[in-house]
């Protein structure tokens, strides 16, 4: 199941979206999350859907792949839809079946909310599908840069994020190793009641925590030995390059916003 989840996964293909500056992508996703709430009728939702599918097309990530990865989300969407069918009691009655009544407003609301949900997830997935985690970190660091004036530790946060990302595979390997070592000592990770299962996590977590702290300390020493003393006076190796494509994409989203403002009720 985890293999099929696409949230947070990066697909390395060559596409306009992959080439974009992470700052532009972050800004677009943020704006999109805001303007989704402007839509309130068929035309405006239609515009949003067209825009989103245009983006999916531009990402060159196979549409089927995305849909396959969003299967779990579909259940959630279906659930919201049903909830709305049950609970919203507006407009004409569409049909009645025993005590179960579907109102026109409920159906409309159900479709709209599910659509909103679906588009939001699609757009945010597109961000992670086309941007490496480290690019997202760099983009965030740049975008949040102005907050440094208010003593907000932007550089430290970005560094923490990039180090955590870098250590995820290392800690995964370690977890695997500890699991095997503990299994060899008789811990059963796969069976038992829920209580037994929770208990069996302890001999996994404690060694993992201890070694993580040790790693953290060694890493801090290594960083210091290599001359790290905070964000001040530091130069950056990774370069973010804003291109015409990024400006164009932002203008496109501005146009979509304008259209939404015009066509909403």
């Amino acid at each position: 199941m985890m293999e099929k989840m696409i949230i947070g996964r990066y697909i390395p293909v060559e596409s306009p979206l992959h080439r974009m500056d992470p700052r532009a992508k972050l800004m677009i996703v943020f704006l999109f999350v805001c303007i989704v709430f402007l839509a309130n009728n068929a035309i405006t939702y239609g515009i949003l859907a067209v825009y989103t599918f245009l983006m999916v097309f531009a990402s060159k990530v196979p549409f089927r792949y995305i849909m396959g990865g969003l299967k779990i989300v579909f259940w959630l969407i279906l659930f919201t839809m049903i909830l709305h069918l049950f609970l919203t009691k507006e407009g004409d009655i569409l049909f009645q079946w025993g005590w179960f009544t579907v109102y026109e407003g409920g159906l409309r609301q159900g479709i709209f909310i599910s659509m909103r949900f679906f588009l939001l997830i699609l757009m945010t997935s597109l961000l992670t599908l086309t941007t490496t985690p480290i690019e997202i970190t760099d983009g965030l660091e740049e975008l949040l840069g102005p907050l440094k004036k208010f003593k907000f530790p932007v550089h430290e946060l970005a560094l923490m994020m990039s180090i955590s990302l870098r250590f995820i595979p290392t800690l995964m390997d370690e977890t695997d190793k500890i699991m095997k070592a503990q299994t060899a000592r008789g811990v059963d990770f796969s069976g038992g009641t829920i209580k037994e299962r929770i208990n069996s996590i302890i001999p996994l977590l404690i060694p993992l925590f201890i070694s993580s702290f040790k790693r953290a300390e060694e890493l801090a020493v290594a960083m210091e030995a290599r001359g790290y003393r905070g964000g001040e006076g530091r130069t950056k190796y990774r370069l973010l390059q804003w291109s015409l494509l990024d400006t164009g994409m932002l203008i496109l989203l501005a146009l979509v916003t304008l259209l939404l403002a015009v066509f909403r009720m």
Partner: protein, 279 residues
């Protein structure tokens, strides 16, 4: 001794809350361009020495001079530019998310302009033969490769001295050979000073000079040949004699004419297969 890059004078050091000195009145000079191995078993004070050299700890007594600069809290960042350090665990010193980011980390810290950084990252990765792995992530690399990246990170900063703190002890034999070969080549081409702290005498055998530490003190100093004459004494210090040395000793005791202790397998083999025809 005008060309000493590191001068350690009467240095003593005690960890907080411990009664015994981890280092007790140690004086030593490290010469420009040499490969010095500091050996000793656990608790001999060799790792403490590494920490003092890098200013991660300050000596309780005595002074340390690096490239003519007295090591104090004010000069620690300058002296760190002169000494590059490679640590034991390949994973726990890999900061960047890819090979090139990791090499650039030290440069970023020192505020090197970007254009120069790109150049330096490239050339130092070429020197350790890791230039084909620029965008590789650490978990796709072997231990030996990670250590070579760490060496590249040190090289990029262009230090005078490279300090290996048990840098090969967690590697498999192939990785260890890769790393040592890299160091040897660098030493020859860059005229760098190499200080390797190790408990592996086989690694130390390749150095120009060996210092044996015991209980926080300098126990013996000399060329590898001289040190390995100590044989049993080394074993008593908790050190393991390299296989070729052990072998030549045993052969000698069996009456096979071998006149010295050979440090490398090649030398020993060469002696053995030519000894008969020389007669």
């Amino acid at each position: 001794m005008t060309d000493a890059v590191v001068r350690i004078e009467n240095v003593s050091f005690k960890y907080d809350g411990q009664s015994d000195f981890a280092l007790n009145n140690v004086s030593l000079h490290i010469n420009d361009g040499e490969w010095l191995a500091i050996v000793g078993h656990n608790g001999s004070g060799k790792s403490t020495m590494a920490k003092l050299l890098n200013g991660l700890q300050t000596p309780s007594e005595g002074s340390i001079q690096i490239c003519g600069i007295e090591l104090t809290e004010e000069t620690v960042w300058d002296t760190r530019k002169q000494i590059g350090m490679v640590f034991q665990n390949p994973d726990n010193q890999f900061v960047g998310s890819t090979v090139q980011d990791d090499v650039a980390f030290g440069l970023e810290n020192n505020g090197v302009p970007r254009e120069e950084m790109v150049q330096r990252v490239k050339t130092s990765l070429e020197k350790v033969k890791m230039d084909k792995f620029l965008d590789q992530e650490p978990h796709h690399l072997s231990g030996g490769q990670k250590q070579r990246v760490a060496i590249a990170g040190v090289l990029a900063l262009r230090p005078k001295i490279i300090l290996l703190d048990e840098a090969t002890s967690m590697l498999d034999p192939r990785g260890r050979e890769e790393v040592l070969q890299t160091i040897r080549e660098l030493k020859e081409s860059n005229q760098m000073t190499v200080v390797s702290i190790t408990h592996d005498l086989e690694e130390a055998a390749k150095a120009d000079r060996i210092i044996v530490m015991n209980k926080g003190q300098l126990y013996r100093e000399g060329t590898p040949e001289e040190i390995f004459q100590m044989d049993e004494e080394l074993v008593e210090l908790g050190l393991d004699i390299p296989f070729p040395v052990k072998m030549s000793k045993l052969l000698k005791s069996k009456g096979i004419p071998i006149n010295k202790h050979y440090l490398t397998e090649e030398e020993l083999v060469a002696q053995l297969w030519t000894s008969h025809s020389n007669k």
